[in-house]
Amino acid sequence: MTWPLIVGLGSHHGDDQAGWLVLDRLRERGYPATRLARLQHPADLLDVIDAESSVMICDACVGGDSPGTIRSLCWPTDKMVYQRPAGSHDLSLAEVMELGQRLGSLPERVQIWTVQTVSWSAGSKPSLEVQSAAARVAETIWKDHQRA
């Protein structure tokens, strides 16, 4: 069985842990730990992906949706609207994906799961809405994989 690489992007701050929570739940379900990548910076994505392996990315997002809303995007067909980073030395996920494509490091398609966040306080726990949403994303990924 081929296990797609699941990347969780996040930090220790509140709901920004959404992507990491998805990984935690998948690990509990029995997903191979070697196919789960817990990253902090989008640029780190280039260290773990390759053009031959399928990959899914789970990330927290800020948008107009209600807290805990889940969206699934398919890169590059779905446009990702990212707020410009605070500095030119930051690389957003969208920029990293484009860079990876130019470098020949990305598979043709990448599925991206986003969870709408509520709180980003430094060092705080994730909100209940985001914890619940992250669990649902993990279950969806797990069941889709079992069916495949």
């Binding site: 902090q40 910076h41 640029a43 780190d44 280039l46 260290d47 410009r84 605070a86 500095g87 030119s88 030395h89 930051d90 920029e95 484009e98 860079l99 130019r102 470098l103 020949g104």
Partner: protein
Amino acid sequence: MSSPDIIEVPILTRVEGEGGVTIRLRDGVIENVELNIYEPPRLFEALLRGRPLEDTPDITARICGICPVAYQMSSVHALEAALGVQISPTIRRLRRLLYCGEWIESHALHIHLLHAPDFFGAASGIELAQRFPNEIKRGLQLKKFGNRLLEVLGGRAIHPISVRVGGFHRLPSRDEMASLIPHFEWGVQAAVETTRWVAAFSFPDFEQPYEFVSLSHPDEYPMNEGDIVSSHGLHIPVTEYDRHFVEEHVAHSTALHAVRRDQRTPYFLGPLARVNLNRDRLSPTAKRLADEVNFPLHCRNPFQSIIARSLELVHAYEEALAILRDYASVGPLSSEPAYMPYQPKDGSGCAATEAPRGLLFHEYRIDAAGKIVSGRIIPPTSQNQKQIERDVTDYLTGRLLAGATRDDMALDCERLVRTYDPCISCSTHFLKVRWEEPT
């Protein structure tokens, strides 16, 4: 007399900070150039007043997400000067190591993704990656290991949390440091390859009689300490900074402009200044490489800053590697303190260190209870602004005479500003270029 015309180039990317350039032409010649910085003042110095001095390194680090270590280093050295704290050799060495990490991550990204595209007509590092995938991958790896070093030593890559007045909150373990050694062995050679790559770029023919200014230390390449020296013969202790440099308000910028106090002339900070003034103290590999690529002894072409920055990348990797190896083999004594204790006392102190973009000056006054009475921070980009304006004027005057189009000159302006790797407000977003010319 004709009235001025305005030409606007709306966005310059790949610099740090939000600002703009207005170029005013009258009767076919450039009359005035203004680097407009319109970000609101951030008032960090006021924020510090009344707070415990221990808060200073972490608060000032927030001025910049790219060079937080520089703000931490200048602040702790200035406060230690006020308190009379003498740090241990181990702490001093680890501070240099932390600075190496910052130089590496900042320089590697600027070289590969922000500056190199200019030499190939590419709009971005992403576009350049298609043409030079191996070089861009190498640049990203070089940056990554700088970040790793900051994470190991500083607790995290952006806004490290291990620095405190007197030293560090904790010293890293020998194993943590040893784990980085293979990456830094690779990094030295990779940085050499980067330098050879950029040294072969084609550079515009533009030289100016700059006054280069940097720290200088008799025994080492300047980072954390040294006297202030200049290519015009200045050599002063940092405590005499105010006697020779002054900041001025200008109407078109929310950032102060620094000039030489007596002459009211601009000066030039950053990697090019440091290499020109301290070339003999570069690491052995970097020094040999400077000769190998025929880097001019007193380079006065700002576009060649990318070579100086690359030489410093080699230096930072090589010095970091030496410190890592030393620390991993002998490490600190188990009884060695992570920081030197001190008692708060009334006093003042100043310090300057070398941020990736140049000399960063801090000065603080503290009261007997250890609270900040006043603080003053003079970042490198503030000091370079006047020189940038002068450069744009002179360079575009030549380009006008050569018959360059406005569009070409707008690009030239952006490219020239980028050579300084400016950190406008120590943040960045876009630089708008505005032309004014008779209609």
